[in-house]
């Protein structure tokens, strides 16, 4: 008989769903529809085979992380379960490089102290101390970069970014978390067009996702729109232009909303520029990162323009 393993304990599942098995043992899992529709009870498998039905309707990025719906999961073998994002483990990492990418954005490279599994575009937490933590997106790609790469924006009076800008130096050890989040590239639809819209340091996850997609052999359009208030705030410009020369399906459009607009940039708010150039987005995948108001508006507008809800990946910060 299959068993459900949770938090070091093993329970007989019998004919029950995994959700019923766990809740009957006193494990607290919020749930609502008990039909695999509302996704309230979603959990993550650590090991074991997940029946296909228990993942039906979930986003590709959740499936890729072995998430499933325990209310419609009737396992055939043993399955070990954990709550989704129920706590990311911590580890130490060494700062190997710090350099300014623009006046207010610092590029940091980190070498984790142990094997580190992540996907480009996910985030990690950086601990200044036990109670002072901020999340930063990963701009690096596991298959391309030896180290983790973060883009830290200097927030006015920011406790953690201020500490990073003013005190952190190469050779220092910092505490970080494992990677989390569901804003990343999943291979499997190489012909699909991808729209990426970011403001400020929202470029970080997009820079990782783009390189991940291109190096995975993505064939559809990969169209990046990066918005900043003024031209000097743009960063990774040379790297992105070079990428656009190497990969003909990749395009890079820097957008400037205030002040002087250089010749190779477009004037306007990034979301308006991106949607004016791509008004019909049926069948596209969209990644939206950066300013929360922009991301919120972009989710709705790209959805109205035809992107399926299940193909919109967003990270507001």
């Amino acid at each position: 008989m299959p068993k459900v393993i949770y938090s070091g304990q093993s329970f007989e599942c019998g004919e029950q769903s995994v959700l019923d098995c766990l809740t009957s043992q006193g494990v607290q899992i919020p749930s609502s529809c008990h039909s695999g529709l509302c996704h309230t009870c979603m959990v993550q498998a650590v090991s074991g085979e997940i029946p296909k039905k228990a993942q039906s309707g979930l986003k590709d990025t959740l499936v890729a992380q072995n998430c499933f719906l325990p209310c419609v999961c009737y396992p055939e073998g043993d399955i070990e379960v954990t709550l989704y994002d129920g706590g990311l483990d911590r580890l130490e990492a060494t700062v190997t490089d710090l350099r300014n990418l623009s006046a207010d954005i610092l590029g940091i490279r980190l070498k984790p102290s142990r094997a580190f599994d992540y996907r480009a575009g996910q985030f990690i937490n950086v601990f200044k101390d036990e109670n002072t933590v901020r999340s930063y997106s990963l701009a690096s790609v596991p298959s391309l970069d030896e180290e983790l790469f973060l883009n830290v924006r200097k927030v006015p009076n920011g406790v953690v970014s201020g500490w990073i800008f003013d005190h952190l130096k190469a050779g220092d050890t910092v505490t970080i978390s494992e990677a989390g989040g569901e804003c990343f590239y999943v291979p499997g639809k190489p012909e699909q067009n991808i729209l990426l819209i970011g403001t400020g340091s929202g470029l970080a996850p997009l820079y990782g996702i783009i390189r991940d997609a291109l190096h995975s052999g993505h064939k559809g359009k990969v169209s990046l729109y990066h918005g900043c208030n003024t031209a000097p705030e743009l960063y990774l410009v040379d790297e992105l232009r070079k990428l656009a020369q190497t990969y003909l399906n990749f395009s890079y459009t820097p957008c400037i909303s205030q002040g002087e607009v250089p010749q190779d940039c477009v004037s306007g708010m990034v979301l308006d520029v991106a949607l004016a150039a791509n008004p019909a987005l049926s069948g596209w995948r969209a990644f939206l990162c950066g300013h929360p108001e922009m991301v919120k508006s972009a989710k709705q507008k790209t959805f109205f323009a035809g992107v399926s809800m299940s193909e919109i990946f967003a990270d507001p910060f």
């Binding site: 529809c33 039909s35 529709l37 039906s56 309707g57 959805f303 399926s308 809800m309």
Partner: protein
């Protein structure tokens, strides 16, 4: 066989939810009820509603409907809003080329939840 099975079950639901949810969010009569709500979570609920209306598998009770909508009733949810949603349900299924007699079946199921949804 339920309408849900006839139109292709779970696999057909993702497309149906997109069409339906787009209509709901763009309708000035009802869109304010959805402001500030996470779109992903909301889409999952729209899917649950559609699945139920199409006679698909669900375990919602009248009591769940009451509890789930009580905060909206407090904000003024009434028959006119319910009618708007019914309109979008019909238009969505028409757009997906569901035969008229099956649309009528789905509408009847959705209609049967009216009193519970509106807390009457």
């Amino acid at each position: 066989m339920s309408v849900y099975e006839e139109i292709g079950g779970e696999a057909a639901m993702a497309a149906a939810v997109d069409v339906f949810y787009r209509k709901v969010l763009q309708d000035d009569r009802i869109k304010h009820f959805f402001e500030g709500v996470d779109m992903d979570k909301q889409a999952a609920k729209q899917k649950a509603f559609l699945t139920m209306a199409l006679g698909g598998p669900h375990n919602y009770t009248g009591e769940d409907m009451r509890k789930g909508h009580a905060h909206l009733v407090a904000k003024g949810l009434n028959d006119s809003h319910f009618d708007a949603v019914m309109e979008h349900l019909g238009a969505t299924l028409t757009e997906l080329k569901v035969p008229a007699h099956l649309i009528a079946q789905a509408a009847a199921i959705a209609e049967s939840t009216r009193n519970d949804v509106l807390g009457k």
